[in-house]
């Protein structure tokens, strides 16, 4: 109580305002006796930070005051009102309030009751929650795989429908995606493949020269590009370019309820949205692979010429004797599988978008990661199967 009587002096709370009354502070409070607080001036949001700190320092926060005389208030808003109400045990203890502010005070008091009545939901924390999270995630992976398989089935049905009745395929959409995913990807895939060819040839040349076997660089570039790298890098690029675009396009349409609208008018969204994309990619990726192979070999030829003095005619001659068509065909055989995986995952994640714009971003990321993962998984499966078959 001693502390309170010490505090019972007018506290200048904010700088004296230029406009109003001169030497009086803009907002102030004054402890008249132990339980009665006089407040005055402008109690608005802009003053609330300072006021609440001062009140706390004076030990007056948290319902410590029995009565507040508010007759000297010149302005009050809901933030100031909240401060007053939180200082007293009950709103009735605030007296002398100007008629203008009575409604506000009552409304704020109601809001305060509602806010304190409701216990805060606690955020789950601790080791148990972490463990539960791991569990949920694990279950989640299982569920996703299951759903993806289901979607794969839907796509197979839709594609089979197109194969049986080719005229049902939306030609315009298919060509559009062929252009977007195939033609428009030529520059970037060309650049990438050329650089890969250069890098492979460069590394090969440096090592093989030590054994005076520089000419085998051609074998290395040829087999590596045609059998593995050409198709792999084309697929990774397509996953990043087109798989993500599929997810974002279909995801935005899901958000916009376009997908639901299709369902209500009897269109199958999988057939309308996924089929043209899958067909387009299955056509585009093998073509891109041929292109990437050629450009990659060109990269290798440039390095061979520059580093090993292997001329283009010699390069081509060596290439045709070292690499048979099997290597090329193996690379080409993978392309449609990669393409189907990328397109199906891209569309699947798009359909899974719900709620907000953030979900589109999240699904797009997942789509690219999963598509590249699937491509490498399929590649590994091919490698194992081929070595088992001794090809």
């Amino acid at each position: 109580m001693v502390a309170l009587s010490v505090a019972s002096r007018t506290r200048s709370v904010t700088e004296t305002s230029a406009s109003s009354s001169g030497e009086r502070p803009l907002a102030w409070f004054d402890l008249e006796d132990e339980n009665r607080l006089r407040v005055g001036g402008v109690w608005r949001l802009a003053q609330v930070g300072l006021l609440s700190r001062r009140l706390e320092r004076a030990g007056l926060s948290g319902r410590a005051v029995h009565e507040i005389d508010a007759s000297a208030l010149t302005a009050l808003d809901s933030a100031g009102a909240q401060l007053l109400i939180r200082a007293v045990p009950s709103p009735d203890a605030i007296t002398g309030v100007d008629k203008r502010y009575r409604g506000l005070l009552r409304r704020v008091a109601d809001a305060e009751t509602a806010a304190t009545d409701q216990p805060r939901p606690r955020r789950p924390g601790g080791a148990g929650a972490q463990l539960a999270l791991i569990g949920w995630r694990t279950v989640g992976v299982g569920i996703r795989t299951w759903e993806l398989l289901g979607f794969f089935g839907l796509c197979i049905v839709a594609i089979a429908g197109v194969i049986i009745r080719p005229w049902t395929l939306d030609g315009r959409a298919t060509f559009h995606h062929l252009q977007a995913a195939g033609l428009n990807a030529l520059p970037i895939i060309g650049l990438l493949a050329f650089l890969i060819g250069v890098v492979v040839a460069f590394m090969g040349a440096l090592q093989l020269q030590k054994f005076s076997a520089g000419i085998y660089t051609v074998d290395m570039v040829g087999i590596a590009m045609l059998r593995e790298l050409g198709v792999l890098f084309a697929a990774i690029m397509v996953a990043g370019r087109s798989g993500s675009a599929f997810t974002a396009q279909i995801g935005t349409m899901s958000l916009n309820e376009e997908v639901d609208a299709m369902r209500t008018i009897g269109l199958d969204p999988v057939a309308v949205l996924a089929t043209p994309r899958i067909v387009a990619l299955v056509i585009a990726l093998p073509l891109l692979t041929v292109y990437a192979d050629l450009v990659g070999l060109a990269g290798g030829a440039v390095v061979s010429l520059a580093l090993l003095d292997i001329g283009i005619p010699l390069f081509l001659e060596r290439l045709s004797s070292a690499v048979d068509t099997t290597a090329f065909l193996i690379g080409m055989a993978k392309a449609p599988f990669f393409a189907a995986a990328i397109a199906i995952i891209g569309c699947f994640e798009g359909f899974k978008v719900t709620g907000s714009a953030a979900s589109v971003g999240r699904r797009t990321t997942t789509s690219v990661v999963e598509a590249i993962f699937a491509v490498i998984l399929i590649d590994a499966a091919f490698a194992m199967a081929l070595s088992w078959l001794n090809i």
């Binding site: 608005r44 949001l45 802009a46 609330v48 930070g49 609440s52 808003d77 809901s78 933030a79 909240q82 939180r86 203008r100 409604g103 506000l104 009552r106 409304r107 704020v108 109601d110 809001a111 305060e112 509602a114 806010a115 009545d117 409701q118 939901p121 719900t354 709620g355 907000s356 714009a357 953030a358 979900s359």
Partner: protein, 266 residues
């Protein structure tokens, strides 16, 4: 219902629009439009679809630069201000966009807290308390505080948007079709909420709406956008306006129903 707006001494208008002209391509939307919003009134703005109600609102709050004309809000020209002055004026204005326009990556409480953080130097504790107060004032249950906008229904999203618009205790709020997409009971609740807040917080309300019930229930004056200009007045006055669109609007079957409903309610 038009008490405050009609005090003897004319108070300084909260919003003044003079000679506003807006054009989109060949389409002239506003042509020398004048409007005054008086402090403490609820002004309902109506007009046919595409007559430029939302554009008018966007011109006033500085989101649209008019081709010509002057707009002042609370005595200042928003689009001419910069830096701290602009921020100070923006703090005195609250805007509720259609469907709330909540930031989808933040919870409802965070949406409100963001505004408070941006404009005040308050600590997280008081900010959270004020956010919860605004949630209650907008008529939302407290457990919405931690929810994401995507988890809310349309009506709740509008209310959450209102809570965000009220975060800084603005002097004037702009509402863009707040009751669109609400069921009649929800819309009537919202009207009551606006009226109550307008009275307890002393707000000026600029409300773009199609909802005749809203207009009858809470608007002190109504501004009608016809022929690229504004005709403004209390409902009774507009009822006698001979303009065919105004007649069709206020004398149509839906208008009569709204009027009857309001009449029988008292």
């Amino acid at each position: 219902m038009t008490r405050k707006a009609k005090k003897a001494a004319r108070p300084e208008p909260a919003v003044t629009v003079r000679g506003l002209e807006n054009r989109f391509g060949a389409n002239l939307l506003h042509d020398g439009l004048d409007l005054e919003v008086l402090p403490g009134e609820v002004l309902g703005v109506v007009g046919s679809s595409g007559s430029g109600k939302t554009v008018l609102m966007r011109s006033i709050i500085g989101l649209n630069r008019p081709r010509t004309g002057e707009v002042s809000v609370l005595g200042e020209n928003l689009s001419a201000l910069q830096g701290r002055q602009r921020k100070a004026l923006l703090a005195r204005i609250g805007v509720l966009f259609q469907n709330g326009a909540l930031f989808s990556g933040l919870t409802v409480a965070e949406n409100i807290a963001l505004v408070l953080k941006l404009h005040t130097g308050l600590a997280p504790g008081p900010i959270d308390r004020l956010a919860r107060q605004k949630i209650d004032m907008a008529g939302l249950p407290q457990d919405t505080a931690g929810k994401m906008p995507a988890q809310l229904s349309g009506g709740m999203r509008t209310r959450a948007g209102l809570a965000r618009a009220l975060a800084l205790d603005p002097e004037i709020v702009f509402l863009d079709e707040p009751t669109a997409g609400l069921d009649p009971i929800g819309a009537a609740d919202f009207d009551r909420l606006i009226r109550e807040l307008q009275q307890s917080l002393g707000l000026t309300v600029f409300m773009v709406t199609h909802d005749l019930n809203s207009l009858v229930a809470i608007a002190d004056r109504i501004a009608v956008l016809v022929d690229r200009k504004i005709r403004v007045g209390p409902l009774d006055e507009l009822l006698n306006d001979p303009h065919p669109w105004i007649q069709a609007y206020f004398r149509g079957p839906r208008a009569r129903a709204a009027h009857d409903a309001a009449g029988s309610g008292h």
